[in-house]
């Protein structure tokens, strides 16, 4: 250290001494403040002493031996600008699987940081079944909110060719791929999209607004893979046929979390017209509401509602689907239509099952129990084919409703989503319509009708 001090400019050394003096004078100020305000400081200090005893060595004051000399050296040397980590280039493999593509093997290269200059990614995947390439590029940028913790706004621009689920509202690509590859139990239907899309979302205190648009050619995919990891035959072989159409679509969304009522409201509108230059003409509306209410300290009541309506053209890739996450006692995407109404309510036990059984207050893997009741309907479907069809009805008939009840066993791992549960639901259909008791395994948030 002394060798380093030998070359210290006099001006810098004077600065060091001046700052050291400032520190010393501050300590004097602290002493005088304490004398003038001993009551509150003593009160706070007594609690701090209690904290010291509880935390022990973790709360011990720092040993300052050698700190002052190190600080003097620092003050006499200019600092270094933080090391630039280049553009944060990263490489990652990509895997996918569904019965329309077969295996999809490839990789992604990315550069940049989401919260600084934004992140550019490029991906490419070879599909073993469809024998074609998927991929493209994307630019994503995020801005922090004023509190510097939450995301205040996000922008995403994406172009290329991709395979997507027909259900625009509830498709979970990772879980679907896993289910298809391992168990052959994927019931999603797929289409191909070629083109570009942009989405901008702005979030504020309890309010969020979003807008976007896309110019994409949508085309159908046929089933090309009927194999699974363990040789099980897929439960669904054919892939529903998407209509070939060039879509020029604009969309807008808004949501609000009410201040004094535990209720969140969401609205999302998609509109495609030929005046925008595309072939498709439709308007799609989706409204959702949900909230959670504490019934005492041990029970949570979480009701949610959803309403959806498609007008203009009954494209299968714009239809509303029923089953799975929307109605557990019905297989996913069993029914479709141009209108959908859903109601669901969960009753959750807040305490861990192990704690209730006296096996410890903080179990390693806390399991929660719950019960649910739900009802859903889709309308506006061709009675012969079952495919979505235009209708003038804005509300379902009474006979369109399907109801259910059931029980749930849940575990919240905390990652990747902090509030999502691994759920095992056992659903009992209500009404004589041919449905059977169903075991439904999922990973989703309790209020899954809400997109945020």
């Amino acid at each position: 250290m002394s060798g380093r001090l030998a070359g210290v400019p006099l001006r810098a050394f004077a600065l060091a001494l001046a700052l050291a003096g400032v520190t010393a004078s501050t300590h004097v100020a602290r002493a005088s403040d304490a004398a003038a305000d001993t009551t509150v400081e003593g009160y706070v200090r007594s609690m701090a002493d209690s904290t010291d005893r509880w935390f022990g060595v973790s709360a011990a004051a720092v040993d300052t031996a050698g700190i002052d000399s190190a600080r003097v050296w620092v003050l006499t040397h200019p600092g270094q600008a933080p090391k630039r980590h280049g553009f944060g280039v990263s490489l990652a493999p990509l895997f996918g699987f569904n019965r329309a593509l077969g295996g999809a093997l490839g990789g992604e290269v990315g550069a940049g940081a989401l919260r600084r200059q934004g992140r550019l990614t490029a991906s490419a995947q070879w599909t073993t079944g469809a024998d074609t390439w998927l991929g493209g590029g994307a630019y994503t940028k995020r801005w922090l909110a004023e509190n510097e913790e939450e995301i205040g706004a996000s922008l995403e621009i994406r172009a290329g060719r991709e395979c997507d689920g027909m259900d625009r509202d509830y498709h979970q690509p990772v879980l679907s791929a896993l289910s298809a590859f391992v168990f052959g139990r994927d019931r999603s239907h797929y289409l191909r999209r070629d083109g570009a899309r942009v989405a901008l979302v702005r979030r504020g205190a309890g309010v969020w607004l979003g807008a976007g648009g896309r110019d994409e050619l949508e085309s159908p995919l046929a089933t090309t893979a009927t194999w699974t990891l363990f040789g099980r035959r897929p439960v669904v072989i054919p892939n529903d046929t998407a209509r070939v159409v060039r879509v020029h679509e604009l969309d807008a969304q808004a949501g609000v979390r009410l201040a004094h009522v535990p209720l969140t409201l969401e609205a999302h509108v998609w509109s495609a017209t030929r005046s925008l230059g595309g072939d498709a003409h439709y308007n799609r509306l989706r409204l959702a509401a949900g909230g959670a209410l504490a019934l005492g300290r041990h029970i949570t009541f979480a009701p949610e509602l959803e309403y959806g309506r498609l007008t203009g053209a009954a494209l299968p890739q714009e239809a509303f689907y029923l089953g799975g996450g929307t109605l557990r006692s019905l297989d996913a995407q069993t029914l479709q239509g141009t209108g959908r109404a859903l109601a669901h309510a969960d009753l959750l036990v807040n305490d861990a099952l192990q704690a209730m059984l006296g096996l410890g207050r903080a179990p390693t893997f806390p399991i929660q129990l719950g019960a649910f009741v739900g009802a859903g309907s889709v309308w506006g479907a061709d009675p012969l084919t079952g495919h979505a069809a235009l209708t003038s009805r804005d509300w379902p008939d009474r006979r369109d409703w399907l109801a259910e009840t059931g029980v749930s066993v849940m575990y919240r791992p905390g990652v990747p989503s902090p509030d999502s549960f691994v759920r095992i639901d056992y659903a009992f259909p209500l009404g004589a319509d041919g449905r059977r008791n169903t075991l439904y395994v999922s990973y989703m948030r309790t209020l899954n009708f809400l997109q945020r």
């Binding site: 009160y43 913790e149 209410l293 919240r412 990652v415």
Partner: protein, 300 residues
Amino acid sequence: MSFPVRTLTLIALSATLLAPSPSAAAPARGGAPAATGRPTLAVEDTMHTEVPPVLVNAPRVTLDEILGRVARGETHRDSLIRDRSFLFTLRIVGHTGPGGSPVLLEERVTQVWQRRPDKLREAELRHWMKDPPKKDGGDDGVRVQIKSGSGMSERIVNFAFQPDARRQYTYRIVGREVLGDHLIYRIAFEPRSPLALDRPAGLVWVDTRDDVIVRQEITFRQSPLPLLLRGIKRMVVERERVGGLWVLSRVLARFETTIPVPDLGSSFDFGMQYSQYALNSGLPDSLFATAASAKKGAVR
């Protein structure tokens, strides 16, 4: 400044009447002479009086108003700090569970200088590790970095009392304590949604003279990360008064892991200490000059 004679007379008369008479007090203190041989009985000499009730007609401060004051008080506190320097100590201690013997695993001491709007200089003065990784090169010595961004709002203290957090939390007053001319409110907060299991609840102590938070204890209804953490057994955020302002002094937390982790054990502590504060000392530009700019003669 005339004092009515009648009043003086009244006061003197009252004093005479209220003063204990030696003759009357004697039996009370000494009791009756024990000539009869019976036990001595004490005589009650407490004076009974009644005062008329006084109706205090003043508006009660609502919880909503207190929350508003705290938000404003924290903003005001933040606005009073133009620059600051402090010693930041990060400490990780393993094996802190019952029956374990705590082991200091890592300690990092950093000097920090901050100046509005966005000047930040950090110098790591000491970095001690129980098991340091093998270095392929020599010791780097003291590392100094100049960065931008210098938040001083101490959100770890007041995150639940920011205006935008009012939608996410519910609050209740759990206690008031008078300390000299200070009134300390204890306010509990918890997530409004019972499904927000990853969000913290807690208890804060608010000094209503400055309307700032002086201490906070944070709890979680469930572990925020159940797959890795069994829970957070205790978390404390403390402030101390420096130069008339309350500033962050310590953040201490004890984590319990789902499975024992090498070195950490099944319980470990994470501590952050902020000490040796200097506030509004007028940190010069040259302190934030980088080596490159100093070389160009930019140091003033």
